[in-house]
Symmetry: C2
DNA sequence: TGTTCAGATGTAAGCGCTTACAGTTTCGGA
DNA sequence: TCCGAAACTGTAAGCGCTTACATCTGAACA
């Protein structure tokens, strides 16, 4: 077999001895073509290994059935899980998902937004509400439907689906405070460009105030995502001499790092110090003691996000904001504050 | 501001009072355009919020600077990590990554291959060598560079980068056998469409034979990916009365499920039973006891895969197959076989 | 001052596909 | 047997962009 260049509609048409219009119809609305012709065309398609050129098709037809998603990183299990559900749901609706990641960087995100849109994404899934004005303007100018996930904010410009990070963390913090904790440590992801992390920090401050605990008793360390960084941050917190009775962590991964580090330092969890996480990913039940955390319905969120976004793309009505419940999971890493200082 | 439809090259050209060719040159090879003109064009581009139409560009220029990757699932941390490294590396080389997942299903994979190629992917990253003839023919016919990762097989048609799953598992198994284990359990991922899982199973059989242990002493359960399924499989293995002294697991996630289940059943790991994993993801060091497993350099593999695939796409030479080292990590979940039966 | 030529810009031909519109065939009914 | 509608199929005009080629400008040089 000689090497042939990529077959086109024309080649198929020639091979099946019909016009290009007929081939196109065979592919897009087969019922308009007689069975005999259809068979002939299909044979030709298979024989040639023809696949339509997407770019050409989009240009001619102006729809892509493609949804783009931009997540901070694929390495974070919570996004991976939600996204898998998102994709599965999209598939059943006839859409293809294209994923890109921003590494939590605003300029990269902007680049990816452009990349996905220029590749014809009909709609976009984004994470959190923090975003440069450039991107927002661009989205508005291009009139591309965009949905924000993992966040809930009725007041924001973009519609969103998620839970209230502030309220969820408040709920957890209240449970913790009710156990008599007074000296608080907090290991957070970078709050600069992450509204979710920021909301969680605010929540802890808020509940401390509610409980009449001085803000001086709160010590915060910001760090990157990872078990190792969680461990390092915990070490730093202790070394600084703050002697917290509980350490809130911005997510489960940091919390697991903290627990491991505590154990390495001979600090018992939870009798010497309590540690909490956020997300409730699988690792939360693997670590010993099991991690007290906030459960977030990632899969459900992904699936719902898919159907809302498709509604947006297809011009149907959709809720501006959808709130899901995040629930506090009390587990072994949390106990009452010990009397000992 | 009135609602305008998406701006095109033409609009920009008009606004800047130049021809479309000049605008195009400004975007693609700015050095060919005088500075004054260039500034004027750039202003127009910004004012209009213009982004080139990717489809049109591809059709006219025939290159996309896009790489596609198809992974079984985003939920598996090993793929997520490798892929993140893959994308980071691609970005530095000016390529955009598009990801799709196949859910371990051959027909879905085929669909995704077509989707990515029709969207103009210049090259494809695939996982493992198992693939339907349809896909292989299609790839050959379209002449799309494709690289297989997470596998190493010099004899395969497609070039690959990865480690030798068989050898790696052999190395682990030899260490295990040398500790006197004779009754072997094995919890594997589905081997049907997963050459990596298959190689690992074969390795265990092979080493048993080396050690002169009857194949009758091997009991295998195949199951899906997940901590829960690992736990269930372990339970089933024990309930079947095989009383293994060691249980090999096809990956860390299954192994963690097994460990957790063992503990729930009052079986001590490792004094009653040893358990091993494969991959060395973070969870392996989180579980107690720490999981004995095989370390795979996922990040490195992702980064290397990116540079090889770009070489392929750009027509440079590249190694047909690249082998990375996977190393056995002896940790707490493995101990010598107890004398007791 | 007249040439020459390099650099800047414009012109226009597609790239592969969809689809409005036009043309052809088939078939039932008068 | 003839006519019109219905069912198919073909023709051709773009979609937005790149790029080979043509054109134009002005500076350098003789």
């Amino acid at each position: 077999m000689t090497i042939r260049s990529v077959p086109t509609l024309d080649d198929v048409a020639k091979q099946a001895a019909v016009s290009t219009a007929t081939v196109s119809r065979c592919l897009n609305s087969p019922e308009q073509v007689s069975e005999a012709t259809r068979n002939r065309v299909n044979e030709a398609v298979n024989a040639l290994g023809y696949t339509p050129n997407f770019g050409a098709r989009v240009m001619a037809a102006k729809r892509t059935n493609t949804i783009g998603a931009i997540i901070p990183t694929m390495e974070n299990a919570i996004f991976a899980r939600g996204l898998q559900a998102f994709q599965d749901e999209l598939r059943t609706k006839g859409y293809t998902l294209l994923v890109a990641s921003s590494s939590y960087k605003s300029d990269v995100e902007e680049e990816q937004v452009r990349a996905l849109i220029s590749r014809g994404a009909d709609g976009l899934l984004l994470i959190g509400h923090d975003r440069s004005a450039t991107i927002m303007n661009y989205l508005a100018a291009r009139n591309v439907p965009a949905l924000v996930a993992w966040a809930h904010n009725p007041g924001a410009v973009l519609p969103s689906i998620g839970f209230d990070n502030f309220e969820a963390m408040c709920a957890l913090a209240r449970q913790v405070m009710s156990l008599g904790h007074q000296r608080i440590g907090l290991i957070s992801a970078a709050t600069e460009t992450n509204d979710r992390a920021r909301a969680r920090v605010l929540a802890v401050r808020h509940v401390m105030q509610e409980a009449g605990i001085s803000p001086d008793n709160l010590h915060i360390i910001e760090t990157e995502y990872g078990i190792e960084t969680g461990a390092t941050a915990f070490q730093a917190l202790i070394d600084a001499g703050h002697d917290p009775s509980v350490v809130f962590c911005g997510n489960d991964v940091l919390a697991v790092g903290a627990i491991k580090q505590a154990q390495k330092m001979g600090i018992n969890v939870p009798s010497d110090i309590s540690i909490t996480g956020f997300d409730d990913i699988e690792i939360a039940r693997v670590v010993v003691p099991e991690l007290c955390t906030v459960h977030v319905p990632h899969r459900k969120m992904g699936a719902r996000a898919a159907s809302i976004l498709v509604d947006m793309v297809e011009g149907r009505s959709f809720p501006h904001t959808t709130q899901l419940d995040a629930t506090v999971e009390i587990r072994g890493s949390l106990s009452a504050a010990s009397a000992a200082r």
